[in-house]
Amino acid sequence: MAKQDSKIPEGPVADKWNNHKGKINLVSPANKRLIDVIVVGTGLAGASASATLAELGYNVKTFCFQDSPRRAHSIAAQGGINAAKNYQGDGDSTYRLFYDTIKGGDYRSREANVHRLAEVSTNIIDQCVAQGVPFARDYGGLLDNRSFGGVLVSRTFYAKGQTGQQLLLGAYSAMNRQIGRGKIKMYNRHEMMDVVVVDGKARGIITRNLVNGKIERHGAHAVVIASGGYGNVFFLSTNAMGSNVSASWKIHKKGAHFANPCFTQIHPTCIPVSGDHQSKLTLMSESLRNDGRIWVPKKLEDVKAIREGKLKPTELAEEDRDYYLERRYPAFGNLVPRDVASRAAKERCDAGFGVNKTGEAVYLDFAAAIMRYGKEQAHVKGLDENDAVLVKKLGQTVVRSKYGNLFQMYEKIVDQDPYETPMMIYPAVHYTMGGVWVDYNLMTTIQGCYAIGEANFSDHGANRLGASALMQGLADGYFVLPYTIGDYLADDIRTGPIDTQLPEFEKAEAAVKAQIEGFISNKGKNSVDYYHRKLGKIMWNKCGMSRNAKELKEAIKEIQELREDFYKNVNVPGKADEFNEQLAKAGRVADFLELGELFAKDALERTESCGGHFREESQTPEGEALRDDENFTFVSAWEYKGVPAKAKLHKEELNYEEIEVKTRSYK
C-alpha cells in the first residue's frame, strides 16, 4: 500500500505555517501577469480564492453552473462562522479552537492543517468587516457572538440566520471588483466537464455552456476545484438542487485521490420529510440549539396520542418529557456535536418515540428560552416579571430578532407557528467531510490541481463542528491557497499560454462529446431523477446514520446494478446544443452513481466507528461510537482504477504530536 506524502512542514505545530510561508517560492508581480489560473465554483472558497488570486495579479477564469456566482450554496449557510478572537473573554484561543476542531473531528483530521485554520480564523473576521459584511453587533457597537455545538466558548460570529449569505456576498463583491478590473473573467452557466492533464500537470478544463450546449476548451497553468461537497448523492439533503460531485469526480478519474468518502455529516436539526414528492430538505440552524431544548415524550402512550392529534406537545407536563440530550450528556446538553445529536435522535425514534406521523421527528422547543428572555426584558424595562402573557410577548420579540428568518422558513414549510408550538426536526444529510485528498499546500495528487473548501477533505476529520465550514472555505480561499499556489507556479513563469490545441485537449473534448451523445441517443424509459431517487434510497438506508457490513455489501451490489440500468434505460429528452437541464443532470447523476459505490466501499473497509461514521459492529455497551485508533488512525485516499470496485487504497497515517488522542466524551 503506497504512502501519501502530505508535505507537512517541519517544526512545532504552532510555527509550521509561518515558517512555511517564509520559505516557499513566490512569483514576482510582473510574472503573475503571465500566469492563468482556473477556479471552478464560486462559493466561499472559490469566490474568495478568485478575488485574492486576481488581486495578486494572476489572470483568473472562474466558472459556475448557476446564473450568477452569488447563487453558490454557501449562501444558504445560516448560523455563523467561528474565529478565535476571544472577544467574550471566555477563555478562547487559537489553541482551543485547534483542539476543539481536532476533538470534534474525532481525531481523524490532520493536525498541521487544523492549526493553520485556527491561526487564520481571526483574519477572516477582520477581513470581512473591512469589506462591509454586516455582522450582528451589540449595543456598544462591537461584534456579538453565539455558541455552537461541541465547544464551551462563544466564538461564533453571525449575521442573524443568514451568515453564509452575508459572507458569500462579501466574497462576491470582492470578485466583482476584480471582474470590473478585468482580472477575473467570469463564466456563468458553465459546467466543468473534465480536467485536462498534460505531462502529469493540470493544464485546463473542458466546459459545457449550459445556455447553448457549446463545448469549450480553457487552458491554464493551474486548476482550482472549489465545487463543494457531494451530499446530494443521498438525493435528499440540505444541499442545493444543483450541488454535485462532478468536478471532484472528474479529477479523481484523472488521478486525484479521493479521501474518506464515507465521512458524511448528518445534521440533527432539519425539517422532517413530508412525502414522496420531496425534492430537498431544509436545515434549521444549529444556532437554534443555543436556545431550543430537544425532547420527546417519556411515555409511548403520549407519543401515540400526539401522533393521533389527541394531545398537543404544549400540553405535556415537564415530568413527562425526556430531554434526552440533557439527560445523556449533562456537560454539553443540547450543544453536543452534530454526529452525537443525530444518533441520539435516531435512537429515540427507532425506539418508537418519534412525534410525527412517520415516526421520524423530535421536538426542538423554545418555550423555556422565550420565557427566560421575556423575564430579562421585563426586568430591564421595569415591567411586571410575573405577567406571563407580557413576558411571553417580550420573549418572542427577542427570539424573533435572533432567529426570525428561520422561524419564518419553518412556518412556511410546515404550516405551524414555532413561536407557539415546538418545532419538529429530524437529522438529514448536510455536509461531507470527505473529499478530494490534498497535501498541506491544498494540492491534489495531480500536479497543479488544487481542491479547496468542502471539496477537499482536510480539516474536519470524521465530523465537522458547526460554524466551521464557512471558516474553512474562506481560510482556504483568502489566506492559504493564494500563498501555496505561488510555490508551484514559480516554476511556470516561462511556460507561456497553454495551447488548447494539444492532443490532450482534443481527447478530453471528444470523450465529453461522446458521453453527451450517448445520453441523448439513449432514448430509455426512465427519467434521470428516477435513478437519483433510487440511489438516494440505497445510500440513506444502507450508508446513512448507522452502517453494518452486511448492508454495505448489499449497497455496493445494488449501486452497481443501478448504474448498469441507468446507462441502458435512462431517458434524456431534448438536444445537446441547447439549454437542457435533464442532460446536465444526467452527467451529474452518472458521477454520483460511481461515487456512491466508492462511498460504500470506504465505509465497509473502515470497521471502526468515528465521528459521523457509525459502524454497528463497533460501539460501547452504552451505544456510543467506539474508535479503533490502533488500526484506523489514517486517512483513506482512494486511487481510481477504472471502476470504483477496483479503487486502490492509499493510507496517510495521522500523527498527533500536539494533542493527546483520547476517547471523545461530551458527558
Binding site: Q66, Q127, L143, G164, R177, T282, S527, N571, F579
Partner: protein
C-alpha cells in the same frame, strides 16, 4: 388537488413563445411550487413532451435563483417568500394557475421560464464593493464600533437575494430597489463611506445602461420583495445620488 396550469413555453431567446395548458391531478398541498413543477416535468417526459425549463437551486429561499411570475405576481400569491418556498396549500382544488417568466427588457428569456439576469451582476461590478484587498491585514474587526441600529439597517438592506422580483413587478421594470439596497448597505457602514460618491454614481449609470426603467414610486417592488427590502433604501439612494452629483 386537481389543477390547470398555463405555462409560458419558449424554445430559446430567438423563438416566439406561447402559453401551453397542462392538467395536473392529485397535487399534494404539502408540495412546494417547484416540487409541483418537478411532477409536471416527469409527467411531460412520459408523454414525450420536453420538460419546462426553470431556474432553481437552493430551494430554501436564499439563493435567489427561482423566478416565476405566478398568477400575475412575482413569486406568486404568498408574501415574503420566493417561488421555492411557496406551497401548494396556498391554492385551491380546481384552480387555474398562470406561470410566466420574470419579464423585463433587461432580463431576456433564455428558455421557457428561465431568464438572463446578468445585468444585476454588471451593476454590482460597477461599484457594489468596498475596495479593500483581501490580504487579511486590515485593522481589528472591533476597532470601529458601529451603532447597532445602523448595523441592523445595513444588514436588512444586505439581505437582498438578487432575484429580480422587484424588476419583474415594476411597471417600468425599474431596478431601483435592488440597486438601492446595495448602495444603502455600504452607505450605512463606515467601511463603505470612503467610496460612497463614486459608488452611487457608477452603479446608477450602469443600471441605466442595462435598460432598467425609471422609478415612479408606486411601491409595488416592496410589496412583492421576498425579503421585505424597504422603500426607505430608494429614498436613501436618491439622497446619496443627489449629494454625489453635487460633489461631482
Amino acid at each position: 388537488m386537481n389543477l390547470t396550469l398555463k405555462v409560458w413555453r419558449q424554445a430559446n431567446s430567438q423563438a416566439k413563445g406561447k402559453m401551453e395548458t397542462y392538467k395536473m391531478e392529485e397535487v399534494s398541498p404539502d408540495m412546494s411550487f417547484l416540487e409541483m413543477m418537478d411532477v409536471l416535468n416527469e409527467q411531460l417526459m412520459t408523454q414525450g413532451i420536453e420538460p419546462v425549463a426553470f431556474d432553481h437551486d437552493c430551494r430554501e429561499g436564499i439563493c435567489g435563483m427561482c423566478s416565476m411570475f405566478i398568477n400575475g405576481e412575482a413569486h406568486g400569491p404568498d408574501r415574503l417568500v420566493t417561488t421555492c418556498q411557496l406551497h401548494m396549500r396556498k391554492f385551491k382544488d380546481g384552480d387555474t394557475i398562470t406561470i410566466e417568466p420574470f419579464r423585463a427588457e433587461a432580463f431576456p428569456v433564455i428558455k421557457d421560464l428561465t431568464v438572463d439576469r446578468s445585468a444585476f451582476d454588471r451593476v454590482q461590478q460597477a461599484g457594489g464593493f468596498v475596495s479593500v484587498n483581501t490580504s487579511g491585514n486590515t485593522q481589528d474587526a472591533n476597532a470601529i464600533p458601529i451603532d447597532k441600529h445602523d448595523a441592523d439597517k445595513a444588514f436588512d438592506a444586505a439581505t437582498c437575494i438578487g432575484c429580480g422580483a422587484c424588476v419583474a413587478t415594476c411597471k417600468n421594470a425599474s431596478a431601483m430597489l435592488f440597486v438601492s439596497a446595495k448602495v444603502s448597505q455600504y452607505a450605512l457602514l463606515p467601511q463603505g463611506k470612503v467610496e460612497a460618491t463614486d459608488r452611487v454614481l457608477s452603479m446608477v449609470k450602469q443600471m441605466d445602461e442595462e435598460g432598467f426603467g425609471n422609478c415612479t414610486n408606486t411601491g409595488a417592488c416592496e410589496v412583492e420583495c421576498p425579503k421585505g427590502i424597504s422603500l426607505e433604501n430608494i429614498a436613501r439612494m436618491n439622497r446619496e445620488y443627489l449629494s454625489a452629483s453635487l460633489k461631482g
